[in-house]
């Protein structure tokens, strides 16, 4: 039996195994809660993990390009980008798919063709994992931008007012006291 057929028969089991690997990043109680809740609004992380890993696995077994495999994981990666993980921890689960596939294969592939197919699957998973880092970094950069935008937004009106003031009062300075908007790491710094 061809490798893809063997694996397709086991899709549900592989997906389950992979989900367990992905959930393993969280403490046990949290992982259990994420696995348990079926409501996509009450449990968005569990829902995204379940749907994302399932869709990515299907894309992989359908022979679609690694970019499509990775695209299915976009939401999971977006969530991981705001959780308290190091990048390696956040994306470890992508590589874990390899172990999940192997664990569901009945026996070592005897013939060379199947063995080569497995190596090819590994290569595509590696490629998807690399692209996952691209997505992860895109979201991490966005978080920085959001932070900057928020600070800018909080003072935009004041800057506009100060700019407009000379038109109104013959060049006098606005009576607005500029705010201290800088935050600092230490309590004593201005």
């Amino acid at each position: 039996m061809a490798l893809s057929d063997q694996l397709r028969e086991k899709t549900v089991a592989i997906a389950d195994r992979w989900l367990a690997e992905a959930l393993a990043a969280y403490p046990a109680d949290s992982a259990a809660a994420f696995r348990r809740g079926q409501d996509r609004f009450a449990n968005p992380v569990g829902h995204a993990l379940r749907e994302g890993t399932r869709a990515a696995l299907e894309a992989l077994l359908d022979g679609r390009p690694p970019s499509e495999v990775c695209a299915a994981l976009d939401e999971v990666i977006k969530i991981r980008a705001v959780q308290e993980f190091r990048p390696s921890e956040a994306l470890r689960f992508v590589f874990a798919l390899k172990a999940a596939l192997r664990a569901e294969l009945k026996s070592p592939p005897a013939d060379e063709a199947v063995s080569a197919d497995l190596a090819e699957l590994d290569r595509r998973i590696d490629q998807a994992a690399l692209e996952a880092f691209d997505i992860y970094m895109r979201y991490r950069s966005q978080i920085g931008e959001l932070r900057i935008n928020e600070v800018k937004r909080s003072v935009a009106r004041l800057v506009e007012q100060i700019d407009r003031w000379p038109d109104r009062a013959n060049g006098q300075r606005s009576p607005l006291v500029p705010l201290e908007c800088g935050q600092s790491q230490r309590g004593d710094e201005a």
Partner: protein, 548 residues
């Protein structure tokens, strides 16, 4: 010998046995790991000094030594004993939890992040474990067996980390069979930290500002005049109407108190412009106060005493100006204070009258004690009596959903009025899923002093359940605006939407009302209050609009 890329390299039976979980220690033995993006910068000493708070000092969250006072354990335990005596609710909440777990997966920070110490039950347990050790016989004797532990410096750090990862939104309390209000546990936890001089700057600086200037942003009276006058100019540009801004007007009928966020930052400023326009249209005899210029009260995020100190100005100004009653703007946590604390801490307001709409004659019996009503109650009553001339089609380009802000929804129970108002001024309104709105609404992730920027990852995790529901209605119904009647929401949900539901803008409700209202003497409206062209209305060369 098989190679790693060959199946034979892996033994299925071994893989099946694999434990996916990282090695674990009990929660009591797991010290807090401060992650950048998850903690908030400490309160500056100068702000503590302004407020006369104990132990103002220089420290950083990442320091090993937080420079606690020498007898800090005694201070904390005495503080706890005092509060157990003073607040029966606190004593009850320390004693009654049976750890049923109903609250465990209801906190937005847990749902979005998965840190078990953000399960409300465990967050409360951080405090409860100390209570057991020092205030219960079983805890004293059995110690850890009874869930008790010693008060150490690490416990203080853990409190700081997790009590400032709670937005006091009270969603968990909706699900607790005993009605334990974890927000109150957080409030006490923060008070105890405060006894050691440990605050977050994003809460304590607004408090210090509010204490001196009457508002969180330290806008002095002349700055407030200036700010509002700029809005008057913008209103005139949008509508052709020049509105008056009554300030400190003695003998006015109504004192209007908005959140100060609406003075300075978009999109709140458009809501403030909406207030000015609507009151002008109604010919309301009202006044702003340059001292009671802020309904918001970060004292709520600091201590019970601070709630009282900051809120006192509202009744004081109402008395000084001689108004009859108070109208409050679109703020969130202000309404927890006004609705649940004001009468007790600053009342009785026996010099005020029960609010009565001068337009419809409606007497707001529900506000008989505090003498203050919400602007949505006021608008809903006006619309019900047909007192506003509305053209909701002006908002037809908007497909709007409504975010119930935690405090108005759960602390005040104002659920129908905002919906009634929005539906009256917008033809396209869509609700988010049932378990994400009304009493079960999800927090923005930035309330209770957490709306700063250094904890952005934390806020985005906390904002995930809300953002997820917004994106659902965006995909399903093409929703492009999220209405919220809370100034913190209007600041923080912009960011939450940018990340989780890009393309959805945030608006206040009064902004929607003002954009839909046909004002007496208005010019042809081609611009909304954001001074953006209204889609579907084109601007003629002479500046007058017309239907395409």
């Amino acid at each position: 010998m098989a190679k790693p890329d060959e199946v034979g390299y892996y033994r299925q039976e071994e893989l099946l046995k694999a434990d996916h979980q990282p090695p674990k220690t009990g929660w009591m033995e797991t010290p807090v790991d401060f992650r950048p993006g998850s903690y908030i910068y400490p309160g500056k000493a100068k702000n503590l000094k302004i407020l006369g708070l104990p132990n103002p000092h220089e420290w950083a969250v990442t320091d090993a030594d937080w420079k606690l006072p020498e007898d800090w354990q005694r201070i904390v335990l005495e503080g706890m004993a005092e509060r157990l005596k003073k607040y029966r609710s606190f004593k009850l909440f320390m004693d009654t939890c049976v750890r049923c777990g109903a609250c465990a997966d209801k906190c937005h920070f847990f749902i979005g992040g998965g840190d078990p110490k953000n399960m409300p039950v465990l967050r409360a347990e951080l405090l409860r474990s100390i209570y057991r050790k020092d205030f219960t016989t079983l805890g004293k004797v059995l110690g850890k067996l009874n869930g008790a532990r010693e008060l150490t410096a690490d416990v203080i750090k853990e409190w700081f980390y997790y009590f400032y990862q709670c937005t006091e939104c009270r969603r968990c309390s909706v699900f607790c069979p005993f009605g334990i209000d974890t927000a109150e546990v957080t409030m006490i936890g923060r008070e105890l930290l405060g006894l050691l001089g440990l605050y977050i700057n994003w809460a304590i600086e607004p408090v210090a500002n509010c204490y001196r200037f009457g508002n969180h942003l330290a806008i002095p009276p002349h700055g407030m005049v200036d700010t509002l006058e700029f809005m008057v100019d913008d209103i005139e540009e949008a509508t052709g109407i020049r509105v008056e801004v009554p300030l400190n007007k003695k003998g006015a009928e109504i004192l209007f108190v908005p959140p100060s966020g609406d003075y300075v930052a978009a999109p709140g400023i458009y809501t403030c412009m909406g207030y000015l326009l609507m009151f002008h249209e109604l010919g309301l005899d009202y006044t702003f106060s340059t001292y009671a210029s802020e309904g918001g009260n970060f004292g709520l995020f600091t201590s019970h005493e601070m709630i009282k100190r900051l809120n006192a100005k509202i009744y004081a100004e109402a008395k000084r100006l001689g108004v009859k009653w108070i109208l409050g703007g679109e703020c969130g946590h202000m309404w927890r204070v006004l609705h649940q604390y004001m009468n007790t801490v600053n009342g009785p307001a026996d010099f005020l009258e029960v609010p009565k709409s001068p337009i419809t004659g409606t007497v707001f019996e529900n506000a008989r004690s505090a003498k203050v009503i919400h602007i949505m109650e006021f608008f809903a009553d006006l619309i019900r009596h047909g007192k506003l001339k509305l053209d909701p089609s002006r908002n037809d380009h908007i497909r709007v959903t409504f975010h119930d802000s935690c405090n108005p929804a759960r602390a005040m129970g104002i659920l129908e009025e905002p919906r009634y108002v929005i539906k009256s001024v917008c033809n396209n309104f869509f609700e988010m899923p049932e378990n994400t709105i009304r009493e079960q609404t999800f927090c923005c992730g930035g309330g209770a002093g957490l709306g700063t920027d250094e904890n952005m990852e934390m806020r985005l995790r906390g904002g995930l359940p809300r953002g997820n529901a917004v994106r659902y209605v965006q995909q399903r119904h093409g929703v492009n605006q999220l209405a919220a009647m809370c100034a913190i929401d209007r600041a923080t949900l912009v960011t939450v939407c940018d990340y989780w539901a890009p393309g959805v803008k945030v608006t206040g409700i009064t902004e929607l009302v003002a954009n839909a209202t046909i004002f007496k003497g208005e010019k042809k409206r081609t611009l909304n209050l954001r001074l953006e062209p209204i889609p579907g209305v084109h601007q003629d060369e002479d500046g007058k609009g017309g239907q395409p």
